[in-house]
C-alpha cells in the first residue's frame, strides 16, 4: 500500500491524466457497454438496492406532527408554543411599522393607534445613521428609505423590515448564546461544528419543507427558516471572536477575581464586541438574502412581490421590487457596519447638560413621531406616503427589456447558442454519462490521493449515498452546472483579482463593485438574466457566475498581495520581468489562497444553483423545489443532503490540496 502510494506520488501528472482518460471513455461509451453486456445497472442504479430514506423521513415527519408527545405536551404543542413566541413580537413590529394597532378580528377590528408615520421612520433611520457614523451615512439612510416611499415600495418594504427586525435579534442572540456554549464546553462544540458545516451547505429549500410541515404556511414559518439560515455564521463568529480575545485579557479577568459569569459578560464579550458586530452584520445580510425564498412559505413584503413577478414574468414589477430589496440591503449593511466599527466618543459627555441636549437624536425622533402623529389627523399624507405622488419605474424597465429584446434578440440568442453547444452541452454529456459505479471509484481514488485514507472513505461513502438515493443523474447535472459556472467565474475572477492586487486604482473600483455584488440578495441576479435569456441552463449559469464571482476575486487579490515582499525583491534583483514575476513567483506562492478562493466559489455556486431551479434547471435544486411544492419532506431532505454532500466533498478535497500546497511551499508555520 505504501509502495503503491509512493509510485503514484512520483507520477502526479500521469495519475490525473489516466483518471480523466478512463472517465472520459466510460462516460462516452457507457451506453454501448450497457447494450453489449446487457447490464442495465451500469447506467442506472438498480431500483431494488435504493435506500428507502425518502419514505422513512416522510413518515417520521408525519408521526412527529401527528402523534409525537413528550408526556405533558405533544410535539404539536411545542411548535405552537415556539410559533406564539415569534408571532407576538412580529405582529407588534408589523403594527408599529405599517399596519397600525387594532383590537378585534376581521371586519370588527377597531383601530386603536396608527403605525408610525413614514416620516417618523425615515427620521429614525437618519438619526441612527448619524449616531453610528456621520452625516454621510445619515444622508444615505434617508435617501434609501425615501426612495422606497417615492417609488411605491413602502408598504412591502416595511413588512420586510418588520421580519428583519424580528429575525436579526433572535438570530444574533441565539447565535451568540450557542457560540458561548461551544466556547465553554468543548464537547458541545464538537457536536455543533458538523451541524454548522451541514447547515451552511444544505440548500435552504431543503429545510423549508420540514418547517412548512411543522409550522404551517405563514410568516412564522418564514421567520423560523430565516433564523435557521442566518444563525450559523453568528455561532462561528462568536466562537472565533471569543477565542481571539488575548489570553492576557482573560487572565486579567481571572486575576481580579471574576466569577465565571462576570468573566464572560464583563471581560470576554465586551472585548470581542467589534468582531461580534461583524457577525451581526452577517445575520442581517443573510436575513435579507432569505426574504425572497422565505416568501415561498408565507413571508409577505418585497420578497413576495419579486416572487410573484418572477412567476408572472412581470419584468417591470420584478425589477422594481428587486431594486427595493437591494436598496434596503445596502442601507442596512452600511448601517450595521458603521455600528460595528463605531468608536465611542473620545470624551464622555458632560453629565450636567440637560437630558435633551445630551440626547439630541432621541429627542428629535420623539418629537417627529409625536408631531407627525398629531398632524396626520389633518393631513393623511403625513401618515402614509400619498399614492398620487409615487413614481413607478415598472414600465420603464419593461420598455428597456422590450427594446433590448426587440433589437438585440439575435445577438443574445447567438451568444446563448454558442455557449450551449460548445461548452455547456459537451460538459453536460460528459458528466451525465459517467456511470455511477465508476463515479464512486473515482471519488474514492481522488480522496485517497489528496488526503489519504480517511478522506477517501468519506468521499466514497458520500458519493455512494447520492447514487443509492437514486439521484445520480440529477446530481451530475448539478455538478456539471456548478463546474462550468465555477470555471467561468474563476476565469473572470482570478485575472480581475490579480489586476486588483497589482494596481491600486483598479483595486478601489473592483473592491466597491465586489462589495455591491455581495450585498445583493441572490435572487436579484435572476431577474435581469431571465428577462434577457429566458429560462434554462444558460440563464442559470450566468446568475451563478455573477453570484460566485466575488470570492474568486477576493482570494486571488489577497493571495497575490500577501506574497512575501522579500521574495518579490529577490525576483526583481534576479532580473525578472513583470510577467516573469507574476508567473514564476507570485502565482505559485499564491496557489494555496487561490485554492481556498476556488473552494468558496464552489460553495457559493452550489447555494445559488439550488435557487436557479426556479428558472428551470433539471438538477438536484429542481428536486428540492418539487419537494417544496408537494410538501414532500423526505425528497426535500434527501435531495438537500445530496447537495450538501457534493459541497462537503469539494470542500474537503480542496482544503486538503491547499494544505498540501502550503506544506510544499513551506508556508505553514
Amino acid at each position: 500500500m505504501i509502495r503503491l502510494r509512493q509510485i503514484i506520488q512520483h507520477s502526479a501528472v500521469r495519475f490525473w491524466t489516466i483518471l480523466f482518460a478512463v472517465t472520459w471513455l466510460l462516460s462516452q461509451y457507457s451506453w454501448d457497454l450497457y447494450k453489449v453486456l446487457d447490464a442495465r445497472w451500469i447506467i442506472k442504479y438498480p431500483a431494488a438496492a435504493r435506500l428507502p430514506l425518502e419514505s422513512k423521513i416522510s413518515s417520521f415527519m408525519q408521526w412527529l406532527v401527528e402523534d409525537a408527545s413528550f408526556g405533558l405536551f405533544s410535539f404539536r404543542d411545542l411548535t405552537r408554543f415556539i410559533a406564539s413566541l415569534i408571532e407576538g413580537p412580529y405582529d407588534f413590529a408589523r403594527d408599529l411599522l405599517i399596519e397600525g394597532f387594532s383590537v378585534g378580528l376581521g371586519n370588527e377590528a377597531v383601530e386603536i393607534a396608527p403605525s408610525l408615520s413614514w416620516i417618523a421612520i425615515i427620521v429614525t433611520l437618519v438619526a441612527m445613521g448619524h449616531y453610528a457614523r456621520d452625516w454621510k451615512l445619515a444622508a444615505l439612510m434617508g435617501g434609501c428609505f425615501l426612495y422606497l416611499a417615492v417609488f411605491g415600495q413602502w408598504d412591502s418594504a416595511m413588512i420586510t423590515l418588520a421580519s428583519v427586525l424580528i429575525a436579526v435579534p433572535i438570530g444574533a442572540v441565539g447565535g451568540l448564546m450557542l457560540g458561548i456554549f461551544a466556547y465553554r464546553w468543548v464537547v458541545f462544540e464538537q457536536v455543533i461544528r458538523p451541524v454548522l458545516d451541514l447547515m451552511q451547505t444544505v440548500p435552504v429549500f431543503a429545510y423549508l419543507v420540514p418547517i412548512l410541515f411543522l409550522f404551517g404556511f405563514g410568516p412564522v414559518s418564514a421567520l423560523v427558516a430565516t433564523i435557521i439560515y442566518a444563525m450559523p455564521p453568528m455561532v462561528r463568529v462568536t466562537i472565533l471572536a471569543l477565542r481571539n480575545v488575548p489570553s492576557e485579557v482573560k487572565d486579567v479577568g481571572v486575576m481580579v477575581g471574576c466569577t465565571k459569569h462576570q468573566l464572560m459578560w464583563k471581560v470576554m464579550v465586551p472585548s470581542a464586541a467589534p468582531m461580534l458586530m461583524v457577525g451581526v452584520n452577517q445575520v442581517i445580510m443573510l436575513s435579507l438574502n432569505m426574504v425572497i425564498i422565505a416568501s415561498m412559505i408565507g413571508a409577505g413584503g418585497l420578497g413576495f412581490d419579486v416572487l410573484t413577478a418572477l412567476r408572472r414574468l412581470d419584468i417591470g414589477g420584478g425589477i422594481e421590487a428587486g431594486v427595493a430589496i437591494v436598496v434596503m440591503a445596502i442601507a442596512l449593511d452600511r448601517l450595521s457596519q458603521a455600528f460595528a466599527t463605531r468608536v465611542a466618543a473620545d470624551h464622555q459627555l458632560d453629565p450636567d447638560l440637560p437630558l435633551v441636549k445630551r440626547h439630541p437624536w432621541t429627542t428629535t425622533v420623539l418629537v417627529v413621531a409625536i408631531g407627525t402623529f398629531l398632524l396626520a389627523r389633518l393631513l393623511p399624507g403625513i401618515q402614509s406616503y400619498p399614492e398620487a405622488a409615487t413614481l413607478s419605474t415598472g414600465t420603464f424597465w419593461s420598455d428597456i427589456i422590450r427594446y433590448i429584446n426587440v433589437n438585440y434578440f439575435d445577438t443574445f440568442e447567438a451568444v446563448k447558442t454558442a455557449f450551449l453547444s460548445y461548452l455547456l452541452l459537451p460538459v453536460k454529456r460528459f458528466f451525465v454519462g459517467i456511470p455511477w459505479a465508476w463515479g464512486i471509484i473515482v471519488m474514492t481514488m481522488i480522496g485517497w490521493r489528496v488526503g489519504g485514507l480517511g478522506l477517501s472513505v468519506m468521499t466514497g461513502l458520500f458519493t455512494a449515498f447520492i447514487a443509492a438515493s437514486g439521484l445520480w443523474d440529477k446530481a451530475m447535472v448539478t455538478v456539471y452546472l456548478c463546474g462550468v459556472s465555477v470555471l467561468i467565474a474563476s476565469g473572470i475572477g482570478i485575472p480581475v483579482g490579480i489586476l486588483a492586487a497589482q494596481n491600486d486604482r483598479a483595486n478601489r473600483v473592483i473592491n466597491s463593485l465586489i462589495d455591491t455584488l455581495q450585498t445583493l440578495p441572490s435572487f436579484v441576479y435572476l431577474i435581469p438574466v431571465v428577462m434577457l435569456f429566458r429560462v434554462g441552463d444558460f440563464s442559470a449559469m450566468i446568475a451563478v457566475v455573477l453570484y460566485a464571482l466575488a470570492p474568486a476575486v477576493r482570494y486571488a487579490a489577497h493571495g497575490i498581495r500577501n506574497v512575501d515582499p522579500q521574495l518579490i525583491e529577490a525576483g526583481l534583483v534576479s532580473g525578472c520581468t513583470p510577467r516573469q514575476l507574476l508567473w514564476r513567483i507570485k502565482l505559485p506562492m499564491a496557489l494555496p489562497e487561490l485554492l481556498l478562493g476556488l473552494n468558496q466559489t464552489i460553495m457559493l455556486a452550489l447555494s445559488m444553483l439550488v435557487i436557479t431551479a426556479l428558472v428551470g434547471t433539471r438538477d438536484l435544486g429542481q428536486q428540492v423545489y418539487i419537494a417544496l411544492t408537494k410538501a414532500d419532506s423526505g425528497l426535500g431532505i434527501v435531495a438537500g443532503l445530496s447537495v450538501a454532500f457534493i459541497a462537503i466533498i469539494a470542500d474537503r478535497i480542496l482544503s486538503a490540496s491547499a494544505k498540501r500546497a502550503k506544506q510544499r511551499l513551506g508556508l505553514t508555520s
Binding site: 487572565d251 481580579v256 477575581g257 471574576c258 462576570q262 472585548s271 464586541a273 473620545d346
Partner: protein, 343 residues
C-alpha cells in the same frame, strides 16, 4: 532577622501532554527529564521551589521557553500545576475551592501583564476601577479609589481617555494602576516592560522602584532581561528548561554563578554596579596608614572615585562600625576594567 514567608512554592510541576498527572504520580512526583521525553511529555516547570518573603522584590529570570511565565501562572493558579504545593499565607492555593480562590484574588493579589491587557471598551478610570467593580463596590467609591491610583502612576488628567489613545508606556501605567487598585499584598508583574522601547523601559523601571519605595509590596517580577533583573531584584531565580538553576541575590549570582549558563549571563554585567566593598575587600584588620573609612554595604561604583584618587588603602567597616577589612586602588581598577580577579 529574615522577613516572614508570604508565598511558599514547593516542588511545583507543570507537565503538558497526555496523562501528565499519571506520569507525575507514578514517579512519586519527581519524573526525570528522560522519563518525560520518553513519554512524549513537556515539562514546562520542573520541581520548582521558591519562597517569597514579605516586602521583597523577587525576580524570576529566564529566556523565552524557560518556563518563567508558566511558573508565575502556576503561582497565581491561572494555570493548574500538575503537582506540588503553593502556600499563600500558610494556605494551599491548589486545594482551595473556587470561591476561596476568587476571594484571595479579589483582595490580596494583583497582576500586571506583558501586553497591558487593558479592556478596550473602558476608559482609563474605568479600567483602573475594574477590579473594584467586579467586587461589587459602589460607583462613587470605586472611582474615587481609581482616581487615587491613576494619579499615583502619573496619569492624572487622562482619566477619560480610552486605551487606544495612549502610548505603550502610558498603557502599562494604567495596567499598573489597575493592579494596585485593590491594594494587593502580593503583586505579580509578568514581563511588564518587555513590550516597551528601551528608553521608556528604563523610565518605567525607575517609576517601578519609586512606587515600591512608597508601597513596600511583596513582588514577583518576571523578566527575560538580566540587566533589568539585576537592577530591580532583591533576589533572583534563574530558570532554564523549566528548572530553577539558582536562587540568589544579584551579588551572589555574579560572584558565585552556580552553572556556566548563569555565568554566561553575568559576564557582561559591569561588576562595579553590583558588587559591594564587603565582598571584594581583603579581610582582616589593617596596619598602617589608611585613606579613610568606608561601609561594607557600599557598591564599588559609588566609592570608586574616592578609592582611585588615593594612594592609601581604605578601611572597610561593618554596620556596627568594627573594621572588617581593607580595600586598595588595585582591586577597584581591576573590577572597573573587567579584569579577571581572584576573589
Amino acid at each position: 532577622m529574615e522577613k516572614p514567608i508570604l508565598l511558599d512554592c514547593r516542588n511545583v510541576w507543570k507537565i503538558y501532554g497526555a496523562q501528565a498527572s499519571r506520569v507525575h504520580a507514578e514517579h512519586r512526583g519527581n519524573p526525570s527529564a528522560e522519563t518525560l521525553r520518553n513519554q512524549g511529555l513537556i515539562g514546562a516547570v520542573r520541581n520548582a521551589s521558591v519562597q517569597i518573603r514579605q516586602g521583597e522584590i523577587f525576580v524570576i529570570m529566564g529566556l523565552s521557553g524557560s518556563g518563567k511565565s508558566t511558573l508565575v501562572r502556576c503561582l497565581s493558579r491561572l494555570i493548574e500545576p500538575t503537582g506540588g504545593e503553593i502556600l499563600f499565607e500558610g494556605q494551599d492555593l491548589l486545594t482551595m475551592s473556587d470561591k476561596e480562590l476568587i476571594e484571595i484574588r479579589r483582595k490580596k493579589m494583583g497582576m500586571v501583564f506583558q501586553h497591558f491587557a487593558l479592556l478596550p471598551h473602558l476608559t482609563v478610570l474605568q479600567n483602573a476601577a475594574f477590579p473594584l467593580e467586579i467586587q461589587g463596590m459602589g460607583k462613587a467609591e470605586r472611582e474615587a479609589r481609581a482616581r487615587e491610583v491613576v494619579e499615583l502612576v502619573g496619569l492624572k488628567g487622562r482619566e477619560d481617555y480610552y486605551p487606544r489613545q495612549l502610548s505603550g508606556g502610558q498603557q502599562q501605567r494604567v495596567g499598573i494602576a489597575r493592579s494596585l487598585a485593590v491594594e494587593p499584598d502580593l503583586w505579580f508583574l509578568d514581563e511588564p516592560f518587555s513590550a516597551l522601547d528601551p528608553l521608556i523601559r528604563r523610565e518605567m523601571q525607575d517609576e517601578f522602584l519609586r512606587l515600591q519605595n512608597l508601597l513596600h509590596k511583596t513582588i514577583v517580577f518576571i523578566t527575560h532581561d538580566f540587566d533589568e533583573a539585576i537592577r530591580l531584584a532583591d533576589r533572583i531565580a534563574v530558570m532554564k528548561d523549566g528548572e530553577i538553576v539558582q536562587i540568589a541575590t544579584p551579588e551572589e549570582l555574579i560572584l558565585n554563578p552556580a552553572t556556566d549558563y548563569v555565568e554566561e549571563f553575568t559576564r557582561h554585567i559591569p561588576r562595579s554596579k553590583v558588587l559591594t566593598l564587603g565582598s571584594v575587600m581583603s579581610p582582616g584588620a589593617v596596619a598602617g596608614e589608611v585613606g579613610g573609612d568606608l561601609q561594607a554595604t557600599q557598591r564599588i561604583e559609588d566609592c570608586a572615585d574616592q578609592i582611585e584618587a588615593s594612594d592609601l588603602p581604605f578601611r572597610v567597616l561593618s554596620e556596627d562600625g568594627t573594621v572588617v577589612g581593607s580595600i586598595g586602588r588595585q582591586v577597584v581598577v581591576d573590577i572597573l576594567i573587567g579584569r579577571k580577579v581572584l576573589l
